[in-house]
Point group: C2
Chain length 203, copies 2
Amino acid sequence: MKKIVLASKSLDRGRILREARVPFSILISKVNEVPFKKRLSNNPIKLVEELAKAKALSAKLTLMENRKESIIIAADTIIEFKGEIIGKAKDENQAFQILRKLAGNAHNLITGVAITETSNPKIIVDHDSTTVKFLNLKDHEIWNYVKTGEWRGRAGCYSARDKASLFVDMIIGSTSNVIGLPLHKVYEILKKEFNVDLLKNSN
Amino acid sequence: MKKIVLASKSLDRGRILREARVPFSILISKVNEVPFKKRLSNNPIKLVEELAKAKALSAKLTLMENRKESIIIAADTIIEFKGEIIGKAKDENQAFQILRKLAGNAHNLITGVAITETSNPKIIVDHDSTTVKFLNLKDHEIWNYVKTGEWRGRAGCYSARDKASLFVDMIIGSTSNVIGLPLHKVYEILKKEFNVDLLKNSN
């Protein structure tokens, strides 16, 4: 199978690929996200798609310089709640405020995904959106969760797979997208556009 | 925190509790499921609730004989597709036939959950239902999946967390229920009925 490079430092995205037994390596691409976020603050879908594309192209450049043949998968995730884009928290207080907004409500988790390969000018960009509803939580429950530290480095300050599965009431959409990588989309894009079959190449 | 016993041999259920960092031990309870399945073949919700209850009570009896104080969590999962109850497959051919039915369609995954404790006559029984939709799959794709062996011991012959996340298109409902234990229900029942707060008692 062609080598797969995940252009993401997200441990959660790596975890999804590992659980699906997809062999891959990681290359963290450096993209300055600030201008994207300023320009596209009113268009969350376009924002995550453009960020995923920029990450994929940055990784592709590095790999081409090193003459390494690879498929590159990049992604970017944000949370949208009542028209507002919610990212990561800087400290416990901010995490508490974000989780307090989300508790008892539904929000949308949107991931942009971009796939390209070093030997091919083709780049496919797509997105997936999942609605996530939390149980009602009292302030002390939110603080108990904040203290677990799971909020760190995560858009929306939770990990639906771990302790937060205690209060993720329901979702509508892709389960892997909730963790940051819509794997069914990746599977279909790789199969149709890059002739890679992740089901066939099991290990 | 009170000791928690999971009355289930399901590796998936244990995985959910471990990921949520809930300390627990396992006690496999022996329940003859055949009479339940005969009697309640037309009522999937009642079937999983009664099986979960029987498993919980069987485990409770063993623990009481050994004078061990514990909270007991038991569960039973089935898949319902167009009015038919779908369980586990016996061999690869049966797994292929089951997955072929489910491919491109939506099915319901229903889990009954029963919670009790050794020192308390109270037993709470509830259920959760999640709709799961698969991508369309060609026969050779289904065979590729069957060859992974993930179908073994699983109702509906898939593990939404692992290789099957490549073709789980979307779900409506609880993500932990898809793996066999609706953790948000367990969290609420333990909090309201047994004075146990799984968020507070993080480890």
